[in-house]
Amino acid sequence: MYRYDEFDHTFVRERVAQFRDQTLRRISGELTEDEFRPLRLMNGLYLQLHAYMLRIAIPYGTLSSKQMRQLAFIGDKWDKNYGHFTTRQNLQFNWPKLEDTADILQALADVEMHAIQTSGNCIRNVTADHWAGVAADEIEDPRPWAELLRQWSSLHPEFCFLPRKFKIAVTGAEADRAAVAFHDIGLKIVRNADGEAGFQVLVGGGMGRTPMIAKVCRAWLPKGELLSYIEAVMRVYNLYGRRDNKYKARIKILLHEEGDDVFRKMVDEEYEKVKAAGGVSHLVPEKEIARIETYFAPPIYDALPDEDAQLTQHLRANSKMARWYEVNCAKHKQRGYTIVNISLKPEGGIPGDATSDQMRAVAGIADKFSLSEIRVSHAQNLVLPYVRKKDVVAVYHALEKYGMASANLGLVTDIIACPGLDYCALATARSIPIAQAISKRFEAPERQKQIGDLAIKISGCINACGHHHAGHIGILGLDKAGKEFYQITLGGSADEHASIGTIMGPGFSDAEVPTAIEKIVDTYIGLRQPGETFLGAYRRLGAAPFKEAIYAQAAE
């Protein structure tokens, strides 16, 4: 993975010192809260319901074991011994003190991490396919470009005071595991007719109160032109994006109001100007991208048989482990290796939370069995990308010891949930208790297996951090006269066939939600054709049978 050089180190250290100065100026009163708020947000520091919250960037979800250990250390020293992995592949601490924040950032800088631009109206942490570099279906590892984007967007002189936040996601694979169509800019590595790899550039996707699927702005862009082209998109957005209404300020609204063709023309014209402006070439210097690429070169793999005889034997003897292997381990591009997905969704647990002890355990396992590398997925799970099949048994037992061997990846209990009203100042209702109740309801492994692929996603407010619009089943928590209630959507999807869920009808109380979900699931099982997934069945059948199932009783 990428390692900081002297320039990167200096940059992050200076940024920490600058934030320390800003914090002191705030505490002394030199800065008012109104002035300080955007400055602290640009370093990921929020004021939430119970305390401050610090959001730490995990660029494109790649993390070393050393970094993971440092996160555990920070959790123990300055927080309450745990952290929360988010849908943007970040980590949040829920209880830091303002006075300690600069020390925390310094501790992060020591391991080449930061919290730069994890909030605020700027380009946020760039996310990527969490299986980048190891997925069997990948065209190219997108992470060198994600790292380039991380550097390029850091304290960008022109684009740190945008109309609204700006999110970029990158994937290099056929299957979209990074939800690129739901980003302000989604980048997908594709081949053109000549077989050359370039970027398909999608613009204007997003969730929030006006969910939209991104539009293709460039079908194929030479990779070297990436930064200049994005500069053009960003300038058009910075100059013409709406600033009169924060709910209409995202780039998706500009694109929608101008129309796809006009917007594309605006970008193309600006891009021509960028290219013509002279000075430095508009191309990313090959030397620089080559420098970054060396950090992401594939490791030297052991030459192994595709199947490990001992593993096969163990799996035959231990059905629980066999099930976990089948559900949580994915096909690796290298023979004899597998991608181990660690579920942070124990039945009835808090989605995405990990204790410092668990973080250290994962770091230790990664050191022993995964070349000291870990990934964070936008589904709030962790990944060990380089596990030899012959080590799978040892990995499984080590995870089991720390309560991290739930065999539910992509199943009904692998629920995405934002922190909701248990932590978040913007939330209108709680998310986590709903996730817990549904998870409990469906905890029987056989039942989960019977149901198959099902993505339930829960947000505690319209901002949609829990990605409810993209859930096969989406749940949105709202407030009605001081009481929590929950709206259900069906048919959303974040993959390469992205779709936005449809609202079923009136909302439910917290106590009613698990039963409503159960009725939806039972309806699916009753009507599905052989091999048909929930999403497939919904797309075939439409909303009617599901609506009938959940509202029938009320009508009686």
Binding site: R26, H50, A51, Y52, N94, L98, R430, G482, E484
Partner: protein, 115 residues
Amino acid sequence: MAVKKDVRQVLTANLLKDGLVVFMTDGAAWSPWIEDAAIATSKESALELEGRGNIAAKANVVVGPYLIDVIEENGRPRANLIREHLRTLGPTVRTDLGKQAERAAGGSGQGGAFI
């Protein structure tokens, strides 16, 4: 919605230095416990509380003070809205953390830590 017969409001904020939730007391100090909060029973007294809160915000002691509606339950104020009630407890999914945990350990009410 029920007709509001009379005002029952307390003033809340977060402390600047550590972000923790506090309530303004009769003595114009800040307490972590809503039980210690001064209860305004008229529009005038609510405005007065708000004024004192704004002074504390200007003095960089607290951030974003605001009034919240309370009801009295067993003679103690309880926040009306769930959001505000949760601020007096902590995360409901981690009852080992926040005010609810300190309360369980006997930390609440008169005699709690004043700031």
